[in-house]
């Protein structure tokens, strides 16, 4: 009669099972790898924020955020100087550009550069304050009847992903 013994085959099977479990555990503790990809996202996000900060310059310049917003009309096409400057800063990454503003009590949205982002895309935004008096009456942000010093707040959202 054989009792209380472990046979070779059982030993090997047990060993294989334990190795499999240990290996799986070690593999799963490599959740660190998403952190690694998050780090490259952090780099991209930082570049997007830095680019928006650089572009937020004097409103008299065509390639500044304010200059671009002031020159927008109902077609929502940004001027070419602005596009050139933006692309100089964030290429080779691909991007999408959106703006949000409040019109009466509604939040309005417009897409200035319509590229389709990938699921790994990141977003950066910057708030730009314009003066109603600086806007042309044909501007989509113009508030008729408001004072010239009435602030008009526009959020510029830049969505960036690796091409």
């Amino acid at each position: 009669m054989v009792r209380g013994q472990m046979m070779t085959l059982e030993g090997i099977m047990g060993a294989l099972l334990l190795i499999l479990v240990t290996y799986t555990l070690f593999q799963s503790s490599l959740v660190i790898s998403p952190l690694w990809s998050e780090f490259s996202d952090a780099q991209l996000k930082q570049l997007a924020y830095d680019s928006l900060r650089i572009l937020d310059g004097n409103s008299s310049l065509n390639d500044s955020l304010k200059g671009m917003l002031l020159s927008l009309d109902s077609s929502f096409t940004p001027n070419q100087d602005f596009i050139n400057s933006l692309e100089m800063l964030i290429r080779p990454a691909n991007y999408r550009l959106e703006i949000y503003w409040v019109n009466d009590s509604n939040v309005e949205k417009a897409v200035l550069v319509d590229n389709r982002p990938t699921p790994e895309a990141i977003a950066a935004s910057r708030i730009v304050v314009l003066k109603n008096g600086d806007l042309d009456p044909s501007s989509p942000f113009y508030k008729s009847g408001a004072k010239s010093y009435t602030p008009v707040v526009v959020e510029v959202r830049l969505i960036v992903w690796r091409a």
Binding site: G4, M6, G11, A15, W36, Q46, D56, L89
Partner: protein, 206 residues
């Protein structure tokens, strides 16, 4: 007596079988080999991540902080005028405000790194009792890439900032910031975006 001995010999109870020993030793051998293999892989990833954190930290210190100096009795943010004096401790930030770099601070950071690389490394927090990293910091044009580096030059044609050790061909971490150079009259051919002279501050740590 003979019957008793025969009973003991034929008994299968309470014995450590050779089979078990074989199985156990196969397991232990495999376990040791695999754990060594995995810890090696794991260690690599971990060091890569901490490298990235170090490069991010140095990029933030340089691009967003004004820096500071103190000799125990006096202190201030103009470390660029005082770093070379005796008994002075300083943190070498390059900014006048976050993202806007000061020309004088850039030049003095290059000088400080050239004159005492090890102590600048310590001041940037790259050398502690637990860790020791090397670094390279440069100001490059916005079109620069890791393979074709284009440094920002001053009016005499020399690189404005290209400090630290030469970048080796090993595992390293790189972090880039887009910065504005505040007083760029001494910079040759600056790239102007929205009326600002822009450059890439590139920090490499290994």
């Amino acid at each position: 007596m003979i019957t008793m001995i025969e009973n003991t010999r034929s008994s299968q109870e309470g014995k450590l079988s050779l089979d078990l020993l074989v199985g156990l030793s196969i397991f232990l051998m495999s376990f040791i080999i695999i754990s060594q293999l995995i810890s090696g892989m794991f260690g690599d990833v971990r060091s890569e991540i901490s490298l990235s954190h170090e490069s991010y930290k140095v990029a933030v210190i340089l691009a967003e902080m004004t820096g500071k100096w103190s000799n125990g009795t006096k202190n201030g943010t103009d470390w660029e005028n005082n770093w070379y004096r005796s008994n002075v401790y300083f943190v070498p930030g390059l900014a006048v405000r976050p993202g806007v770099l000061d020309y004088k601070k850039i030049v003095e950071f290059q000088n400080a790194t050239d004159s005492d690389y090890e102590s600048v490394k310590e001041l940037l927090g790259l050398k502690t009792p637990d860790s020791n990293y090397d670094f390279h910091v440069s100001l490059e044009t916005v079109n620069s890439t890791p393979y074709t580096r284009e440094l920002i030059l001053d009016i005499s044609g020399l690189p404005l900032l290209d400090a630290g050790k030469d970048i080796p061909q090993i595992q390293l971490a790189r972090f880039e910031r887009i910065v504005q150079i505040y007083d760029y009259s001494n910079v040759s051919n600056p790239t102007i975006v929205a009326g600002k002279a822009v450059a890439k501050l590139v920090v490499v740590v290994w």
